[in-house]
Symmetry: C2
Subunit: 103 residues, 2 copies
DNA sequence: CATGCCGTTATCGGAAAGCGATAATATGAA
DNA sequence: TTCATATTATCGCTTTCCGATAACGGCATG
């Protein structure tokens, strides 16, 4: 019923989500999409890849190609700038978010 | 530095923020914009009004015009559907959000 | 080596959203 | 009746969303 609201939230949230995961370990498109789907969120590659590209272009992620069983994967991992941005964004987002749960 | 990430988050978050405030008391555009600004977020009317309109069109908000000191204001308050949507969306958003703060 | 396979990434085109600038509206005051 | 002002609405351009489709790249097989 409120699914459009949840989706809008996810779309704004997705970059933080990506940085969070890319901080823990390198991630790549196909796997990340499946991980989202496991949690019930379906994001198309037409949305996802451009987000990765932009995060890389802006220096939050760095990419490394790897040949895995004969196929090229692009593993994205977080940069120092990305770590700082994530930390800062988390703090700001938390401020906004906490207000929602005030009494 | 990571302001674009925070802004993207805000844009996805804004509807929940609006519903939250419209649940506490009726809100109108100018005041709501100022309230955001006090918290450091600058959202243009070109963004804000269409969001209000869509939330109303979709039944999450209802609007009532009031003449205040000779000027027409459109006060938005939450509907029953909006309350349910807010509750549901908060829960889903919290799931996503909490993961960010896992150890 | 040529060909096909397939996991993976990339892009296209139309629709929707974001947004600064500008216009429109409505009312009270002068 | 005109003016000032608070408020809402819209325009046109840019960017994002996204399903569909294409492209890539290396391996296996003959």
């Amino acid at each position: 019923m409120a699914d459009e609201l949840v989706r809008d939230f996810l779309l704004g949230f997705i970059k933080l989500h990506i940085l969070y995961h890319a901080r823990k370990e390198p991630i790549f498109g196909q796997e990340f999409k499946k991980e989202l789907k496991r949690h019930g969120y379906d994001i198309s590659f037409g949305t996802l890849y451009p987000v990765f590209h932009k995060l890389e272009r802006n220096g939050y992620l760095k990419v490394e190609e790897k040949n895995v069983r004969g196929k090229i994967r692009k593993y994205y991992s977080i940069t120092r700038k990305g770590v700082n941005a994530l930390k800062h964004s988390k703090a700001k987002a938390k401020e906004l978010f906490d207000e929602l749960f005030e009494t």
